[in-house]
Amino acid sequence: MAARTNILRPAARPWQYNVYWIFTIGGTMIIMIGFIIGIILSRQAGGYWSDNSKFARDCALIEQAPQPSGFAATDALIENCLSNPDRIAAESASSPQELQDDLSQLASWPKWVKPFVFVGVMSFMVGIALEFSSIPKLLQNRGRVMGAAYTQIVKR
């Protein structure tokens, strides 16, 4: 009978249930951070691509390029840029260094923000998987308890 009394305990809180929320909250925070970075990059992209012509963007810091480059098209661009400093100044709202920094950031950040956001999605998945994994044990307990209670239910 002692063994039977042992069976009749309500289901204990599964360990997975104690940790799943860490992944859920972690996932939410990661995705929120990704979204905020996206908004910041969006503003930066708006400025970079609206205030500077393609000529000015292509000419940013071009004087640092090796000359001759060995490619006719590149050499022609370098020559064109170096002989038109006034045009570059007129068609750009930022310094060449700022333009180069913006381009570098706008090209590189999305490359890690995307996988970072997917880490957030994966965190949600882990949380969901942990919750699912706690259900079989609860069902097992439920079966045992129901089995014992059944005899009392049908006595009615």
Partner: protein
């Protein structure tokens, strides 16, 4: 016995439906397999658009050398030289390439939004399925309770409040994905269409402050926030699924507790 159970089951009342807006997911809950199927079909149609429209548009655009497809002043001459040198026939009409890039960029702007909406319907169906399971578990609990000796039967607990958060979260997620589709269509047939309807040579020569540059900045800015926004919408759906599971776990645990209480009362054991 089977007849008795059937009769009792028929007398078990479901909980009254919630107020607006909760009534919407509650009414839609039983048709969750259809919603999942709809999501699958939406994603399937987007694949077909990719195969039959997007891919051929890019194929057309990249069928000629850069100078030809980008509409450089010497494009026609380059095209003739290319044909003479390689024997490959290319379309010398610049408008052909402009149309191809126009079509490709428009499709690329709105299709992913609709694809994610389809995916969102799939996730919504999972959340609804979990809600339906929780509802059925509650009904089953009521049935067992109805068979218990009223003298020992513990009271049926209230429905957990968190189910409302689940419904809100799912509705929020799907509405955000719908908003993403609307914004995607506006950008696709607005800024993207206006910008990419020009030859690349014209686009390259655009000056700051021009409409072309404004459109391009809108397109590029949109690309930066759009992806994370879709993921944020999906996160609401994931939260809905997570809460749905916590409701099921809660119901299983509370029913187990009730059965133990009933057993203890009816047998006089503690």
């Amino acid at each position: 016995m089977a007849q008795r159970t059937g009769t009792l089951l028929d007398t078990i009342q479901d909980d009254p439906k919630g107020p607006f807006p909760f009534i919407i997911p509650e009414v839609m809950m039983p048709i969750f397999p259809l919603i999942a199927l709809m999501g699958w079909m939406i994603v399937g149609v987007m694949v077909l658009i990719g195969i039959f429209f997007l891919s051929p548009a890019f194929e057309d655009y990249f069928s000629a050398p850069k100078a030809v497809r980008e509409g450089a002043p010497s494009a026609a001459q380059v095209a003739q030289e290319y044909q003479a040198a390689t024997g490959v026939e290319v379309n010398t009409d610049i408008q052909f390439y402009v149309d191809a890039q126009h079509e490709a960029h428009i499709i690329e702007t709105w299709v992913p939004q609709v694809k994610f909406l389809g995916l969102g319907f799939g996730l919504m169906a999972i959340a609804m399925g979990l809600g339906t399971i929780a509802k059925r578990l509650r009904r089953m609990g009521k049935l067992v309770n109805a068979h218990m000796n009223p003298q020992f039967a513990p009271p049926i607990p209230e429905q957990p409040l968190r189910r409302r958060f689940q419904q809100l979260s799912v509705m929020m997620g799907i509405m955000m994905l719908m908003a993403a589709v609307v914004v995607g269509l506006i950008i696709a047939f607005g800024a993207t269409s206006d910008y990419w309807s020009n030859p690349q040579a014209v686009l390259n020569a655009a000056l700051p402050g021009s409409e072309l540059m404004d459109n391009f900045s809108t397109i590029q800015g949109y690309k930066m926030w759009n992806g994370p926004f879709r993921m944020l919408s999906m996160s609401f759906l994931f939260i809905g699924i997570t809460i749905g599971l916590t409701v099921i776990i809660y119901v299983l645990r509370i029913q187990s507790e009730i059965l133990v209480q009933f057993y203890a009362r009816s047998t006089g054991r503690r």
